[in-house]
């Protein structure tokens, strides 16, 4: 196991400790609980709160998006594991500014169950909560079972839109509405080239052949659509965008935000080569790239691989994508 860590069991805790030492001006642990992270900067009064939660091992997802114009709080689980309902409940309670809390998280079994318990607990304390689950991964279920789809890097766009809307003083209903609209226009898909290692496991829990690529693999190594022989950047991008546009047709003149996301072990150079291919693909069908993110936005530790996300934009979504956001891990100020 080629990792620079201390005790595997303390991986998540020490990660959060490091983050809080580095960014105490922007982030804090609620009541000293390292699994409950909230903004430590000034929050607009009367703002709707947007929160999330999920397992560790995906930085900057999840807690890296807590900050101005994005998320208000995050419950942090162990590697690839949901935080408990109780942690989520305490996080929701701590991030409630009195104008409603949107729990915006990825569609994973454990997270779903815990958030639904946590929301029950919050409602019992008269906190107005809503839940929206992100299901952007087209590879994880066919179109007629859309509700089973998992979340991947599209989470970042969900938070960008909801976070901007909340900061623009949308009401809870309005934040939910525009977030649902964005999710309807959001699709992602990825490929994995190498597995990753959960520190406590000490070795990969799945393997990918030396000349193979897992098309559609989930960020925890969930099986994808198919195992294929290694493809070039141009073929890979075509496979992903074919599948994405099959599911969500794009027309000449459409404007989109596109993310080329590295899963952790893929050099930035390769992501730009993939962006070049995506640009060519989209140009050929007359679709305009209005905004792009190229880099590591949602990872699986050292997994090599890449995912593409496409968000189809209208004027409202353009404004929300453009709206300035700044967290210690993310900003669109220099983009």
């Amino acid at each position: 196991m080629k990792k620079i860590i201390n005790e595997p069991e303390s991986f998540s805790r020490e990660t959060v400790e490091g983050i809080l030492l580095a960014h105490s001006d922007r982030l804090k642990a609620l009541e000293g609980d390292l699994q409950i992270i909230a903004r430590n900067d000034e929050v607009k009064p009367q703002k709707v709160s947007v929160v999330t939660g999920g397992g560790s091992g995906h930085l900057p997802v999840f807690l890296g998006y807590v900050g101005n114009g994005m998320l208000d709080g995050c419950a942090v689980g162990n590697v690839f594991a949901s935080p408990s309902a109780n942690k989520m409940f305490n996080m929701i309670k701590g991030c409630d500014y009195g104008n409603g809390v949107l729990c915006l998280y990825g569609n994973y079994g454990g997270d779903n169950m815990n958030f639904s318990m946590a929301c029950d607990m919050a409602e019992m304390e008269d906190i107005t909560v809503r839940q929206i689950r992100v299901k952007d991964d087209v590879a994880s279920a066919p179109a007629n079972e859309k509700d089973k789809r998992r979340a991947v890097a599209g989470l970042v766009y969900a938070w960008k839109i909801a976070g901007a809307a909340a900061d623009m003083m949308y009401s809870l209903d309005e934040v939910c509405q525009v977030t649902e609209k964005a999710l309807n226009n959001l699709r992602s898909m990825g490929v994995a080239l190498t597995p990753c290692i959960v520190p406590e496991a000490g070795k990969p829990t799945f393997s990918i052949g030396e000349d193979e690529m897992e098309v559609g693999m989930g960020i925890h190594g969930e099986p994808g659509i198919e195992v294929r022989n290694k493809m070039s950047a141009s073929e890979t991008v075509k496979v992903l965008l074919d599948k994405i546009t099959d599911d969500m047709p794009l027309e000449k003149g459409d404007e989109i935000a596109v993310m080329v996301n590295g899963l952790g072990g893929t050099p930035l150079e390769e992501l730009y080569i993939c962006f070049k291919e995506a640009h060519a693909y989209l140009e050929a069908i007359g679709v305009k790239i209005y905004s792009k993110y190229i880099g590591e936005y949602a990872t699986s530790m050292e997994m090599a691989g890449m995912s593409l996300s496409v968000l189809k934009l209208d004027d409202e979504l353009k404004d929300l994508v453009d709206y300035k956001a700044s967290t210690p891990f993310f900003t669109n100020i220099n983009k």
Partner: protein, 206 residues
């Protein structure tokens, strides 16, 4: 033994915890085949947490089960750790003011247990989950006239239910991604369900 008191339930949870420890690696193996392989770890940690929690000082079934559920979920917020929380909370509500449980009352507890899970997660019998062990066991408890027979039959039913998951196709959780490939594998959660009734049976008949 005709009726279970709260203190009996604490003893039974100790036995369940031992079962989970003993079967830790076996559950990991089952969960690895169509999941992430954490089931043995999370169940072992979850029930150990109950034994160290406030639950063990509680004097009513309601508070015992609520605190036990919270402890399992805190220690193991994985799917089954959370489902246990849901189930224990649901069961606790059903038998909130009972002071002792016979076969029928224990059946009511597991009725509340399974209903809560089905309502909250949208799962039902035949979907290769822990329900496939616990639902038939619940039937046995509800239809038996005494605790000893009820538990013996419930344990039998849970075992058969567990085995019946081998031929099922997974619909929920990570296993669902494996689709047809999940057929032929015994569900880890259903195995946990069987182990729970094994512990009950050992305490009562054994």
């Amino acid at each position: 033994m005709d009726k279970l008191k709260v203190n009996d339930m604490k003893e039974i949870f100790k036995l369940i915890s031992s079962r989970m420890d003993e079967n830790r690696d076996y559950l990991v193996e089952l969960d690895s085949k169509a999941g992430d392989g954490d089931l043995g770890i999370s169940m072992s940690a979850g029930f150990r947490a109950v034994l160290k929690s406030e639950a063990m000082t509680m004097e009513s079934f309601k508070r015992f089960f609520m605190n036990a559920g919270m402890a399992i979920n805190e220690a193991s917020p994985s799917s089954l750790g959370t489902i246990m929380f849901m189930g224990l909370l649901g069961g606790a509500k059903k038998i909130a003011d009972y002071e002792e449980l016979g076969s029928f009352e224990l059946g009511q507890f597991f009725e509340g247990w399974t209903e809560a899970i089905m309502t909250k997660t949208g799962s039902k019998a035949g979907e290769k989950t822990i329900l496939d062990a616990v639902l038939p066991a619940t039937e046995s408890l509800l239809s038996s006239s005494n605790l000893k027979d009820g538990i013996r039959l419930a344990y039998e039913a849970a075992k058969n239910g567990m085995l019946s998951t081998i031929e099922m196709k997974a619909v929920h959780g990570r296993a669902a991604y494996y689709q047809e490939k999940s057929i032929g594998l015994q569900d880890g959660g259903a195995t946990v369900g069987m182990l729970i009734f094994q512990a009950f049976n050992e305490y009562i008949n054994g």
